[in-house]
Symmetry: C2
Subunit: 186 residues, 2 copies
């Protein structure tokens, strides 16, 4: 019976659970990429549509705040948009890994690209977080005022848009972890 099973092309006993685990990892990889896309896309849209005009104005100045007033927030939107595009483009490769769970070269490529994208997204998100912190708290030593006292809803929206980006970073970190585990099990 055992010889017959091996002749019929079934994998040996110890290889079968390995393939199953790697296929499970690949499926999780696919789902998590979609979660990350939702996070980064949401961040990009939430930040990119943020502006607030205060209901009072003087003769010379109309108090208006938009994300594009701060270059760091522009970088945040660009970083999130690029990572979203990358994650969508990486989905076919993720599907390929579900079908062919023993793939090595493509997994290596994906680890490297994921790492680069995670670094890029982290830099955008933490630079924006530093500015958001400054907007909330200000800095008395540098004489930078907390603009959130005036632009309240602007600040809330900007702070909220960071969340999706940090979810994206966490998911990318887990994706690299899973890819490394799958690669070491091959």
């Amino acid at each position: 019976m055992k010889v017959g099973a091996e002749e019929a092309g079934e994998p040996p006993m110890d290889a079968a659970p390995k393939t199953a685990v790697n296929r499970g990892i690949s499926r999780l990889d696919f789902i998590m990429r979609i979660v990350a896309v939702i996070g980064t896309l949401g961040s990009a849209i939430a930040m990119g549509t943020t502006n607030e005009t205060l209901p009072f104005f003087t003769q010379f100045i109309r108090f208006r705040a938009a994300y594009s007033d701060l270059p760091t927030f522009k970088f945040f939107v660009v970083a999130n948009a690029i990572v979203t595009a990358y994650l969508i483009l990486s989905l076919p490769l993720s599907i390929f890994h579900i079908v062919k769970s023993g793939a090595r070269a493509t997994r290596t490529v994906l680890i490297i690209l994921d790492t680069a994208m995670m670094a890029f997204l982290t830099s955008g998100a933490s630079a924006a977080a530093a500015i958001v912190y400054l907007a909330h708290k200000g800095n008395t030593r540098a004489n930078w005022f907390a603009i959130c006292q005036q632009f309240n809803s602007f600040c809330e929206r900007v702070s909220g848009s960071l969340v999706g980006s940090f979810i994206g970073i966490l998911v990318l970190l887990l994706l690299i972890l899973f890819s490394a585990v799958a690669l070491s099990r091959n």
Copy 2:
């Protein structure tokens, strides 16, 4: 002759160059970790010792700037110090990979820890970069003034200390790349 060579415990012909390449990668890994340690340690020290007292003062205020005035710079120092400690602690594992180039589990662990540390270092460095940019250029819309016009040498030193950190990020990115390649060749 060929049988004799295999009986003497030598690896088969196609495995020998693989091991040699992996050993080469492991040696490069060790050297690059030392480069990264120099970068991040230099950054932490350069930022941590930065302060400037201006040569003039009024009756009430003495103009003094230190890195600890800005919480982001404190985070930068802490992040660099932690990554330096991690890199030094990872050196024995790197030596172990030179000796035993076929190791898989430890390489996987190192990829995951390297990735986490890279994300941590990137967040510290880019948050600091965002604040340094603000200190140089200011922001007229938010009414934040460019403090670098007064604290010139403070700003130069702070900007310079970012360099080591970004070198560390690049080296960690390459370390992850090399580890992934070595893992996929095993």
